[in-house]
C-alpha cells in the first residue's frame, strides 16, 4: 500500500513538472520557426538619397503597405500595413523628413516620420462627390519654411500643410459631369492648372492661385470628336489626349487661358497603324507613349503641335517618371524586354537621340516582364551622373539595378499567396543528398565541447552566442532530403502573380520558383486568375521513382463562365510538365479519394453548366471512376441566392460535347434560405485528409460516447440581412445568427441553433465531430466562440462489454447516411477577447494527439488554444471524476495566455490563412501562417511525448549513468566487506 501511494505521488510529481501550456524560451526563437517579411507588388516608389546618411526608397504596394527600404540591401527599415479597405492612392516625401500617404480613395492623408516610421499627423479630407483621386506634392512652394501638398480628391482641391496636416484652403469642383484628368503645377510659378472633361466633348481648364486657392481663370472649349481615356501632360500648358475613336491624337494647349486643339490622325504618324490606341501617361516633358495592341510607340512633341515618332517597338516597354537631375534637365528611363535580357536606357527629356546610360541585364525568365521602373541618380567619383533603377517585375518581385547588375532582389510576390499545399522531399539515397558533408572533425569536436560547456553552465557569453548561432545554422534542418520525423517538406505556394514557389520548411528558403505559362497573359486569356493548388501525384509505394507533382487550377477572367486553365508542375524540379487550356469553365473542383496505377489523384471539375469533367483523361481513370460512380456526391453553396444544393452524377454527357470524361449531373436536394431574413456568411466542412484516431470517447464513470464522424457534414452560418453589415450599425434586436449542421448527401439538417442578438463575421473550423465558430455578440458587445459536438446515439447501447464480447453489438452494421441518424449535440459558448482573422486546427498523422485551435487574431498573431477549453461538458464545479478526466472548470471567457502565442513576439502582418500539416512524428504538427508576412513553426499540442526534445540534457544523463555505476561499485565493495565481517563473526 505504501509503495502504491509512493508511486502515485511520484507520478503526480512527474506530471506536475510538465507544463500544460505550450511555451518557448527566448533563446529557442528561430530554432524551428522562421518568419519572412514582404511588401506586395510595388505601386509607387520614391527615393530619398539627397541627404547624407542612409539612402532609402519608400514604396507603397498593392497590399496596402507603406515601407521604407534600405537602398543598399533592400532590407526593410520600417513598414506599416494599412487596413484592407484603406488602399494607398499615392505617396511622396515632403520636407525631406516626412513620408506622406494618401489613402482610402483620397480621403485620408497621413505623414510618417522618415527615419523611424512613426506617424506624425493624420488628416481627413472630404469632398462633395466621389471621384478618381489625384495626388501631387510640391516642394518648391514655400510658406514660411512649410511646404504645401496639393491634393485633388473627391471633387475637391485641397492644399495641406506638410508640417501638421492642416488644410490651408480648399476649392470644390462641383460641375455635374466634370471629370478632372490632371492637376498640373508648372515649376517655379504659383499657379495650378486643373484640366478635365465635361459631358464627353467639353474640355475644361481652371487656373488657380496655389497660395490661396483663388480661381483665376476658367475656360472651356468643345471638341466635337469627344475624348477617350486619360490625358498625358507634355508641357506645363499642353496636354495630349485621344479622341473617342482612339484613332486621332489631340494636342490641347491652354497657354494664356486660350484653349486650342490640334488634331493628328495616328495613321499619319505610323504607317501600318491598326486599331484604337491607348495613352500611357508619363510625366516626362515633351514625350508620351501610346500603345496599339502589342506595339508601343513613343512620340515626341515639338513646339506645341508638331508630333514626331521617335520609337516604335514590339517589345514590352515601360517608361519611368521624369527625374530632374539639374536645373532644367530631366532624365527618364526606358526599359525594354528582349527574351533573356532587359535593356535599360536613360535619356534626357529634350535629347532623345543620346543615351545617358545604356545597359543590358540578364534576367531570369521566371520573373516575367518589367511592369514598372523608377530611377534615381547619384554622382560618381568622376562627377558624372550614375543611375540606379528600381524595377517591378510581372511576378511582383522588386529589383535594384545598378551598373548593369542586379544589386538586390526581393520576392514580394510571396506577400499575396492564394493557395498552399505541401510536398515530400526526395528520399535520401546515394547522390540524392544536396547538403554538403559536415565540417571537419576538429570543428565537430569543438562544437560538442561548446555544447558540453553550455550544459554544465560554464560557458561565457561569447560561447553562448556561438552555441546559439550553431543551433540556428544547423545544416540538418535545411537538407534537401526527407527526414525521419517528417519535419522537412516543401511548401508549394501559388501567388496572385501566377508564380509557383517551393519553400523549404526548415529555414524558408526558396527551392525553386516557376512563372506558370497557363496563368500568363496571352491573346486567348487576357486576365488569368490562379484559383487552387491540388496534389496531383503523390508517389509512395509502387511509383516510387516518379516525382510528385501538383495541379494548378486557374481561369481566364473573373466571370463564372470563363474557361479554365490547368498546369501540372513537378515539385522536385519545379518544371511545368504540361499545361492545358480548357474549353469549359471551372466552378468547383472535387479531389476524389481514388488514384490510378501511377498514383495520379482523380479530380472532378464541375463547370458553370453543371457538367462534371474527370481528370486525368485516361481510360484507366474512367474505369476507376465508373466503379465508384454511384458513391460520388458533392454540394454547392450559392451565397448570393441563399441556396445550398446537393448533387450526384447521372451519366455520360450527351449532345455537342462528346467527351469521354464529361458527365451529366443531377440535383439531389436543395435548401433555400429565405432571402429576406437569412444570408449565408460561412460554410465550412471537414478537411478531406483529416485522420480520426478513435470514434469512441470514454468519459467519466466509464461511460462511452460515440462521435458522429462523417465526411459529409457541412457547417453553415446565416445572419439576418441587417446583421450582414459591419459592427456598429445594427441593434441586438434586429440581428440574429443561425448555425446549421447539414448532411451533404441527403440534405438533412441535423442540428440548428439560433444566437439572438449576434452577427457576423463568422469564422469557423470543423474537425472530427465538432465545430467551433467565432462571431460577435451584440448584447454583450463582445466576441463569442461556440462549440458544437455531435454524437451518435444509435450506438450508445454498445457500452456493455458483454455485448461486445458476445458479438451482439451493431458496430459492424453498415452505416448509411440515408437511414435517419440518431444524433445528439452538445454545445457551449464562451467570450473571446479579440477579433479573429482566421481559425485552424492542428492535425497530426494518426489523430491521437489532442487538438489545439490556432486563432489568427486581429493583431496578426496566432494564438494556440487547447480544445479542452472548448468542451461542452465543462461545468462550473466539475466532479472529482470529471476533474481526473481533465475537464476544466467553466468560466465565461476563454483564457489568453501570452506564452501560447505560437508567433511569440512576431506579427504575421496582413494575416490571411493558417495551414496545418501533420509531420511523421505523431506528436508534432507543422503550422504555416501567411499574409503579407510568412511564418512557419512546429507545434506539439501535447508536448513531444514521442521524442526527446531539443534541449534534452544529455550531460545530465551521462552524469547519472556514471553516478549509478559508481554507486553500484561502492555498494558492492561495502556489501562484500560486510559479508566478510559476517563470516568472521
Amino acid at each position: 500500500m505504501a509503495i502504491r501511494s509512493f508511486l502515485i505521488l511520484f507520478i503526480l510529481f512527474f506530471f506536475s513538472s510538465l507544463n500544460p501550456i505550450l511555451s518557448l524560451y527566448e533563446d529557442q526563437v528561430g530554432l524551428v520557426d522562421w518568419h519572412q517579411q514582404y511588401l506586395g507588388k510595388v505601386k509607387q516608389a520614391v527615393f530619398h538619397t539627397h541627404k547624407t546618411g542612409r539612402k532609402r526608397v519608400v514604396v507603397s504596394t498593392e497590399e496596402n503597405v507603406v515601407a521604407s527600404l534600405d537602398l543598399r540591401q533592400g532590407e526593410i527599415f520600417w513598414r506599416h500595413v494599412l487596413g484592407s479597405n484603406d488602399v494607398i492612392d499615392g505617396i511622396d516625401i515632403a520636407l525631406g523628413k516626412y513620408v506622406i500617404t494618401l489613402s482610402s480613395g483620397g480621403s485620408i492623408l497621413r505623414a510618417w516620420n522618415l527615419p523611424d516610421g512613426q506617424m506624425v499627423w493624420e488628416s481627413s479630407l472630404r469632398g462633395p462627390k466621389h471621384s478618381k483621386s489625384l495626388f501631387l506634392v510640391r516642394t518648391n512652394l514655400k510658406i514660411e519654411k512649410d511646404n504645401i501638398v496639393i491634393i485633388f480628391s473627391n471633387g475637391r482641391l485641397n492644399a495641406v500643410s506638410c508640417m501638421d496636416g492642416e488644410v490651408l484652403w480648399e476649392k470644390d469642383f462641383e460641375g455635374e459631369s466634370l471629370k478632372v484628368q490632371q492637376v498640373i503645377q508648372p515649376p517655379g510659378s504659383n499657379l495650378i492648372y486643373v484640366v478635365g472633361f465635361a459631358s464627353s466633348s467639353l474640355f475644361e481648364m481652371y487656373q488657380i492661385n496655389a497660395l490661396n486657392g483663388e480661381l483665376l481663370k476658367h475656360e472651356s472649349a468643345a471638341f466635337s470628336g469627344g475624348f477617350l481615356g486619360e490625358v498625358s501632360p507634355v508641357f506645363s500648358e499642353t496636354v495630349v489626349a485621344l479622341d473617342s475613336t482612339g484613332l486621332i491624337l489631340l494636342t490641347i494647349s491652354f497657354q494664356n487661358g486660350k484653349i486650342s486643339f490640334h488634331q493628328m490622325p495616328i495613321s499619319n504618324l505610323v504607317k501600318d497603324s491598326f486599331g484604337p490606341a491607348k495613352i500611357i501617361p508619363s510625366s516626362v516633358t515633351g514625350i508620351f507613349a501610346i500603345k496599339m495592341n502589342a506595339v508601343t510607340i513613343v512620340i515626341r512633341v515639338k513646339d506645341e503641335s508638331k508630333l514626331e515618332v521617335v520609337e516604335k517597338t514590339n517589345h514590352e516597354t515601360s517608361i519611368s517618371d521624369a527625374l530632374s537631375i539639374s536645373e532644367g534637365q530631366q532624365a527618364f528611363a526606358l526599359v525594354q524586354h528582349a527574351s533573356h535580357e532587359i535593356h535599360l536606357r536613360v535619356k534626357l527629356a529634350h535629347n532623345w537621340d543620346d543615351n545617358l546610360l545604356k545597359e543590358s541585364v540578364k534576367m531570369d525568365q521566371h520573373r516575367g516582364l518589367v511592369h514598372k521602373v523608377y530611377i534615381n541618380n547619384y554622382i560618381r567619383t568622376d562627377k558624372s551622373y550614375g543611375f540606379r533603377a528600381l524595377i517591378v517585375m510581372e511576378d511582383h518581385s522588386l529589383l535594384l539595378l545598378q551598373q548593369g547588375e542586379i544589386v538586390w532582389s526581393r520576392e514580394d510576390g510571396l506577400a499575396s499567396i492564394i493557395d498552399v499545399t505541401t510536398s515530400e522531399l526526395p528520399v535520401e539515397r546515394d547522390g540524392v543528398s544536396v547538403a554538403k558533408v559536415e565540417h571537419n572533425l576538429f570543428e565537430w569536436l569543438k562544437g560538442h565541447m561548446l555544447k558540453l560547456k553550455g550544459t554544465l553552465m560554464l560557458a561565457s557569453p561569447q560561447d553562448i552566442a556561438a552555441i546559439q548561432s550553431m543551433r540556428l545554422k544547423n545544416s540538418e534542418k535545411s537538407k534537401m532530403t526527407r527526414d525521419h520525423n517528417g519535419f522537412r517538406k516543401l511548401l508549394i505556394v501559388l501567388t496572385r502573380a501566377g508564380k509557383l514557389f517551393a519553400l523549404h520548411t526548415g529555414d524558408g528558403h526558396i527551392v525553386w520558383s516557376h512563372l506558370l505559362q497557363s496563368l500568363q497573359k496571352s491573346k486567348v486569356c487576357q486576365h488569368p486568375i490562379g484559383l487552387n493548388l491540388y496534389k496531383w501525384q503523390v508517389p509512395h509505394h509502387h511509383a516510387m521513382d516518379e516525382n510528385p507533382s501538383v495541379l494548378v487550377i486557374g481561369k481566364c477572367g473573373p466571370s463564372s463562365d470563363a474557361p479554365g486553365a490547368l498546369s501540372f508542375v513537378d515539385t522536385y524540379t519545379g518544371k511545368e510538365l504540361s499545361s492545358l487550356s480548357l474549353v469549359h469553365s471551372v466552378a468547383q473542383v472535387i479531389p476524389l479519394p481514388y488514384t490510378d496505377s501511377t498514383e495520379q489523384c482523380l479530380h472532378l471539375l464541375i463547370d458553370a453548366d453543371k457538367h462534371a469533367h474527370l481528370y486525368p483523361k485516361t481510360p484507366e481513370a474512367i474505369s476507376i471512376f465508373e466503379r465508384e460512380f454511384s458513391n460520388i456526391y458533392w454540394y454547392s453553396v450559392e451565397d448570393d441566392n441563399g441556396i445550398i444544393k446537393g448533387h450526384a452524377l447521372r451519366g455520360k454527357c450527351t449532345g455537342e460535347v462528346a467527351d469521354e470524361v464529361c458527365f451529366e449531373t443531377r440535383e439531389l436536394w436543395s435548401i433555400v434560405f429565405p432571402s429576406e431574413s437569412e444570408k449565408i456568411i460561412a460554410a465550412v466542412t471537414r478537411k478531406l485528409n483529416e485522420v480520426v484516431h478513435t470514434q469512441a470517447k470514454v468519459i467519466a464513470d466509464q461511460e462511452v460516447m460515440y462521435k458522429y464522424i462523417s465526411r459529409n457534414l457541412l457547417f453553415v452560418a446565416t445572419v439576418a440581412l441587417k446583421g450582414s453589415v459591419e459592427i456598429g450599425s445594427v441593434t441586438p434586436e434586429e440581428s440574429w445568427l443561425v448555425a446549421y449542421l447539414i448532411d451533404t448527401v441527403t440534405g438533412r439538417i441535423l442540428h440548428q441553433v439560433t444566437h439572438h442578438g449576434s452577427q457576423g463575421p463568422v469564422h469557423a473550423v470543423f474537425s472530427e465531430n465538432w465545430v467551433v465558430y467565432h462571431y460577435f455578440n451584440l448584447k454583450a458587445h463582445r466576441y463569442e466562440m461556440s462549440v458544437i459536438e455531435i454524437y451518435d446515439q444509435s450506438r450508445a447501447d454498445n457500452k456493455d462489454v458483454w455485448k461486445l464480447v458476445l458479438g451482439k453489438h451493431n458496430l459492424t452494421s453498415p452505416i448509411s447516411l440515408y437511414s435517419r441518424p440518431d444524433v445528439i449535440t452538445k454545445s457551449q459558448s464562451y467570450f473571446f477577447t479579440h477579433s479573429v482573422k482566421a481559425i485552424a486546427v492542428t492535425s497530426t498523422t494518426k489523430g491521437i494527439t489532442s487538438k489545439q485551435l490556432l486563432i489568427g487574431t486581429i493583431g496578426d498573431q496566432v494564438l494556440a488554444l487547447d480544445k479542452r477549453f472548448l468542451d461542452p461538458r465543462r461545468t462550473v464545479n466539475p466532479t472529482q471524476a470529471e476533474k481526473e478526466e481533465g475537464i476544466i472548470p467553466l468560466i465565461d471567457s476563454l483564457p489568453i495566455i501570452p506564452q501560447s502565442y505560437v508567433t511569440h513576439a512576431l506579427r504575421v502582418e496582413g494575416l490571411r490563412g493558417i495551414i496545418t500539416v501533420p509531420a511523421k512524428l505523431e506528436s508534432t504538427t507543422l503550422v504555416f501562417a501567411h499574409g503579407v508576412d510568412l511564418f512557419f513553426t512546429q507545434l506539439a499540442p501535447s508536448r513531444t511525448y514521442d521524442s526527446l526534445t531539443d534541449d534534452f540534457n544529455y550531460a545530465l544523463l551521462l552524469i547519472t549513468i556514471v553516478a549509478l555505476l559508481a554507486a553500484i561499485f561502492v555498494t558492492w565493495t561495502l556489501s562484500e566487506r560486510k559479508e566478510l565481517q559476517e563470516n568472521w563473526r
Partner: protein, 202 residues
C-alpha cells in the same frame, strides 16, 4: 481632450433631408493610448518609441485601422452613429477592447466601457490591462531543478535504496534477520541483490 465630436459643418447640414446617406451622421472618435513607462519590466531589445510606432488601433474588427501620433493620440474619421468596438493591437501588451457609443443626441460626450471587465471610461484613454510576456523565463541553475529532473529522481531513489534500506534492515528483529539471512543463503543469491527482497518485506 478625448471626445466624440461631430463635425460642425456636417451637423449644420444634417437637417437638410437631401444629404447623401453615406456621410450623414458622420462623427470623429478621438482618443489616446497610454502605455505607462513604469510598466516595462526592462525587457531587453524593446525601446518604447519603437513600440509606439507599431501600435495599431482598430475599429469594428479591422473595418478602419489607424495609428498613433507621437503623443499617443488617435482618431477615426467619418464614423456613423452606433455602438462601436475599438481594439488596440500592441506587441507586448494586452488591451481590452472598448465599446464606444456614438450618438447624435449627446454629441461631444464619451460613452465608453472596457468589454473585458465592464469598467466605464470617462474619457477615451486606453491603457493596457497587463503586459504580455511571450517567452518562458529560463530558470537559473539550481540544485533543486537538477534533483527534480527524472535523472535526479533516479539517483535519489537509488541512493535511498542503497543507504536507507540497510538501515531499515538493521532495525529488524535479530531473530527475523537471521531467518532472512538463512533464507538468502539457502537461495544462494548474490549478496547485493539480497538487499532488495529485504526491503520489499517491510
Amino acid at each position: 481632450m478625448a471626445a466624440v465630436t461631430p463635425l460642425l459643418l456636417l451637423l449644420l447640414l444634417s437637417s437638410a433631408p437631401s444629404f447623401s446617406s453615406g456621410s450623414r451622421n458622420a462623427y470623429n472618435i478621438n482618443g489616446r493610448v497610454k502605455i505607462p513607462q513604469g510598466l516595462g519590466l526592462g525587457t531587453k531589445g524593446y525601446a518604447l518609441p519603437g513600440r509606439m510606432s507599431n501600435v495599431k488601433v482598430l475599429l469594428n474588427g479591422g473595418q478602419n485601422i489607424t495609428f498613433l501620433r507621437p503623443d499617443g493620440y488617435f482618431s477615426f474619421h467619418n464614423i456613423p452613429a452606433g455602438t462601436h468596438l475599438i481594439e488596440v493591437s500592441a506587441i507586448g501588451y494586452f488591451f481590452s477592447p472598448v465599446r464606444v457609443d456614438v450618438s447624435a443626441r449627446t454629441p461631444g460626450k464619451v460613452q465608453a466601457a472596457l468589454t473585458e471587465n465592464r469598467k466605464g471610461l470617462s474619457e477615451l484613454v486606453l491603457e493596457p490591462l497587463r503586459e504580455e510576456q511571450y517567452y518562458e523565463i529560463r530558470e537559473p541553475f539550481s540544485i533543486m531543478s537538477l534533483l527534480k529532473s527524472p535523472m535526479g529522481l533516479m539517483v535519489g531513489f537509488m541512493l535511498a535504496v542503497a543507504f536507507l534500506m540497510p538501515k531499515l534492515v538493521e532495525n529488524m528483529d535479530l531473530e527475523e534477520m537471521r531467518r532472512a539471512q538463512e533464507e538468502m543463503r539457502s537461495q544462494g543469491v548474490p549478496s547485493l541483490s539480497s538487499l532488495l527482497p529485504g526491503g520489499a518485506m517491510n
